[in-house]
């Protein structure tokens, strides 16, 4: 397994060659991937919003945004501009400190979670050993922000929405963690890189989805619930709760909630891809193709092609899941709160436990296929 392109090493080496000290060169490198990832997440968010509007329009036989930019692609950017320039209202009897802090607490963990999303062998901010566990623990901060904004709005709908969001979030975190745990058990590591590595080599046949079909379904349902996507969008159920915890928000603070929900959707798609669909791996392994064509692994063109194809594959699979989420949104009706909790506690949790048990058993009995 070659390590692909080492951008960091090349960058630092070229800076040292320019006469900078190694420490300074490393310091100069550090903000670059972070900035790149934030920009990438923002662009991904804009694409996601545009896709949501276009696909929703398609499912309802409408046209959707059309006039701003080609095919309306600039519409989400315009929406963002509009929200920035809108008046930032804090209701008179609201608790202004908590009211402001709430959306920030909701959006921060989502963006920090991009720390662990890999787009290629070396194409991630840092290979944290904790990997997916870091994502799970960060996403557990979100309900605090939701409760905070629900409470601070001084509005009964907002409070109910915040409570529902928190209840939903902590109930579905458990099946989510159990599904992730089964994958982690198979790859013997929490690191996202190792999880993808373990699936590589056999193309589409090596992906975890074949070994963890049940875990995949559990993860997908729980991820939809964590993102508050439609079959589970009770916290902002507009027929019952106006807009849930977002009721009193406007302008940039509302935009923060909006951004957080879509970035979270893209993040969930990315993690589904990393955990179950082989991350940056293409359905046909590139190494195998290269060896067929007699191209050496150290070939620069091959490395660039592998890296860009990896990014493309990751994004393609991710947006496939975003597409599925949008399609599900217009297909399924919203569940009731008791049905939601029933599904989480009485269906997903036992199935997740059984799945974990079976995975452990298979790992012991068939170590070659389930990671010994």
């Amino acid at each position: 397994m070659n390590s692909g392109i080492d951008l960091q090493g090349t960058f630092i080496r070229s800076l040292i060659d320019l006469g900078l000290s190694p420490g300074l060169a490393k310091l100069l490198w550090m903000p670059l991937p972070m900035l790149l990832m934030i920009i990438g997440a923002t662009v991904g968010l804009l694409v996601c919003v545009w896709l949501e509007r276009k696909i929703s329009a398609g499912a309802q036989q409408r046209v959707g945004p059309e006039y701003v930019g080609p095919m309306g692609t600039l519409q989400p950017a315009m929406d963002g501009l509009k929200l920035i320039f809108k008046e930032d209202i804090v209701p008179g009897k609201a608790d202004s400190v908590l009211f402001t802090l709430g959306p920030i607490l909701v959006i921060l963990p989502v963006f920090v979670s991009y720390l662990i999303v890999p787009f290629g062998q070396n194409l991630l901010i840092t290979d944290v050993g904790l990997g997916v566990f870091l994502w799970i623990s960060l996403s557990s901060i979100q309900p605090i922000g939701l409760l905070m904004s629900g409470y601070a709005s001084n509005n009964k709908y907002a409070l109910l929405g915040g409570l529902r969001a928190a209840a939903q979030s902590i109930s579905y975190e458990i099946p989510l963690a159990l599904a992730v745990l089964a994958v982690v058990m198979m790859s013997n590591s929490l690191s996202t890189i190792d999880i993808v590595q373990q699936q590589s080599g056999y193309g589409i046949l090596g992906w975890n989805i074949w070994r963890q079909p049940v875990g995949f379904v559990i993860f997908w349902i729980a991820a939809l619930a964590e993102c508050e996507r439609l079959p589970f969008d009770l916290p902002e159920a507009e027929e019952e709760l106006v807009a849930g915890y977002q009721t009193e928000y406007s302008g940039i603070k509302f935009a923060l909630f909006y951004i957080a929900s879509y970035v979270n959707l893209v993040l969930s798609g990315l993690l589904v891809v990393v955990l179950y669909l082989g991350g940056w791996e293409s359905p046909v392994p590139i190494d195998w193709l290269a060896s067929l064509l007699n191209v050496p692994e150290t070939n620069a063109a091959l490395q660039v092609a592998t890296a860009s194809l990896g990014i493309l594959m990751t994004l393609f699979k991710t947006y496939l899941f975003v597409f599925l989420a949008i399609l599900l949104r217009w297909t399924l009706p919203r569940v009731r709160i008791d049905q939601l909790l029933d599904l989480g506690w009485k269906f997903l949790l036992p199935i997740g436990l059984v799945n974990l048990l079976i995975t452990a058993g298979l790992k012991l009995s068939l170590p070659f296929a389930f990671g010994g």
């Binding site: 420490g23 310091l27 908590l98 944290v128 050993g129 904790l130 566990f133 870091l134 799970i136 623990s137 960060l138 557990s140 901060i141 309900p143 605090i144 409760l147 905070m148 629900g150 409470y151 409070l159 915040g162 409570l163 928190a166 209840a167 902590i170 109930s171 975190e173 458990i174 929490l190 690191s191 709160i337 008791d338 909790l341 506690w345 949790l349």
Partner: protein
């Protein structure tokens, strides 16, 4: 002192100050909700301190369990009970506060002197870092097996207890009639309350 150490010291000072300030806020601020949110801040700050000590797994677990579960449950409990009650001013409240302050100050002094007088052995072993997960797992299933299992039994008991409390129809009739008055919430018991209690242990 190189750059990394400087960053470490500065972040330690910031984190320690934030933790102390938030902890004081939890105790001194009269609003319960603010206290609960500040408690979350304390937990996050302590997770940051763990990170500085190269214990990233413990830090993440701290955030997941204390911030994501315990603190959310505290907030849940606060927000679900919408009882408004003005407490009667207690006579000699200052005396109670004085005694509390004296006890807490004494405890603080005791701990402080213990920490200062103990000859701490500085470990020279390199921090294990990300391998801590394996080490923790090994300890859980060898020398710390009993405490680990005891903790899980305790949590299971809490789980079952919460279910029994939430399923009112399983309580005997006499228990219901005897003490309904002071047990009753202002609202009728709902599923949401049961869930809030029931998911505590399994986190």
């Amino acid at each position: 002192m190189n750059l990394a150490e400087g960053v470490q010291i500065v972040s330690f000072i910031i984190l320690a100050a934030a933790v102390v300030a938030a902890a004081l806020g939890v105790v001194l601020i009269p609003s319960v909700v603010y206290a609960a949110f500040l408690l979350g801040g304390v937990f996050i700050g302590i997770a940051g301190l763990y990170l500085l000590l190269n214990a990233s797994f413990v830090a993440a677990a701290q955030i997941l369990i204390y911030v994501g579960a315990v603190n959310v449950l505290i907030l849940f409990a606060i927000m679900l009970v919408n009882k408004r009650e003005d407490f009667r001013p207690v006579k000699f409240a200052w005396a109670r506060r004085g005694v509390t302050a004296a006890v807490c100050g004494g405890l603080f002094l005791l701990l402080g002197t213990t920490i200062i007088t103990t000859p701490w052995a500085f470990s020279t072993a390199t921090p294990v870092g990300d391998d801590a997960v394996y080490l923790i797992g090994e300890h859980f299933f060898s020398d710390f097996l009993l405490p680990f299992e005891l903790a899980s039994v305790l949590l299971l008991m809490a789980l079952i207890g919460a279910i029994v409390l939430a399923r009112r129809d399983f309580l005997p009739e006499s228990a219901l009639t005897a003490s309904t008055e002071n047990l009753k919430l202002p609202e009728r018991p709902r599923e949401l309350v049961a869930v809030a209690k029931a998911d505590q242990p399994s986190n």
